[in-house]
Homo-oligomer: 169 residues x 2
DNA sequence: TGGCAATGTCAACAAGGCTGACATAAAATC
DNA sequence: GATTTTATGTCAGCCTTGTTGACATTGCCA
């Protein structure tokens, strides 16, 4: 390793900020994210869906009646990209799109009964893995895990995340 | 929330395993991973590369002279998929492929000077974000972060991760 | 009434996964 | 020494999911 920025030990209490420690963290993110998505991916595949469908289902479930625009902002994709996914979910009867009552331009999105069933299935699979990991790691580690992840988000996404998690606390 | 598996409080010390806590963890992974990759992605885009190129560059740098087969196992993709990426990196003079001396069927992969430059650029961008997050969160949180991520990996990937991180400790 | 906002849709393109098939060279094995 | 297996590369085609650009509809609002 060369002496790039952040190399070496800058102080007795900063040993966790060496290049080597940072690299471990980076690689841990890579490998963990793979595991994180692998269980739901297997379920989605059987239905002919992909990760994008899971994300849409998750956040529609999370915020019943959310608008398309809001969903776009949370997911951070283009409307054309989201629309493709949403179309298939609506056509398959997993998501319902209702015209807004206050503002009739808006569409409010809800999971149907069938949508809730799939959501539960995906959620169970993903939660099982996260729960096991949390249990093995313990409460203190989990707290640290969340703290670091939050610090890693883009400010705009952090705001959205915090807004999502503060209700339902 | 319904009473799915893992719902509710099972004991005074298990409040961190409620569905709500798990969901926060899941959403934190989603939002954090976005931030985690956004800085390198911007650099890659200027060169006409994508995430797959970054991953290849990272692990070739990490393990100088690794074989194609080894890289395939670490990345968890097909050889056709990796080959496409590797081809462009070799053609662009960022990666060198040398015939193995012991086993001449194998190709050993190395970053060239130009490859090292790009690696450093990508690495600096990603490390800057992770370093800031680590610094803000503190050593204890970082330790918990790594513990949870490790517990979240597939066993096979965890073994690979640990093998990678134990040398160069 | 005119303009802006929310949504949907068509078309085209790119990245990066995948499968299947086939080729070559070298190692390993019988 | 002949055969099989391994490591790699490559062609072709398919899928998901992201992108841009253009355009239409509807409805809110000033």
């Amino acid at each position: 390793m060369d002496e790039g920025p952040g190399s070496g030990k800058r102080g007795e209490s900063l040993l966790f900020l060496t290049d080597e420690q940072l690299r471990k963290g980076i690689e841990a993110m890579f490998f963990a994210y793979k595991g994180f998505t692998s269980d739901p991916d297997r379920i989605l595949e059987m239905r002919g869906y992909g990760r994008a469908h899971h994300r849409a289902i998750h956040f529609i479930h999370r915020s019943h009646g959310t608008t398309v625009n809001n969903l776009l902002a949370i997911l951070g994709v283009t409307k054309q990209s989201l629309n493709r996914v949403l179309r298939s979910l609506i056509d398959d009867g997993l998501v319902e799109s209702r015209v807004g009552s206050r503002d009739k331009r808006e569409r409010h999105l809800y999971l149907t009964e069938a949508g809730l069933v799939l959501e539960r299935e995906l959620s169970d699979a993903q939660q099982a893995r996260v729960r096991d990991a949390f249990r093995v790691a313990g409460p203190q580690a989990v707290s640290g895990f969340r703290t670091v992840l939050e610090a890693m988000m883009d400010p705009e996404m952090r705001r959205r995340y915090q807004r999502l998690t503060e209700n339902g606390q």
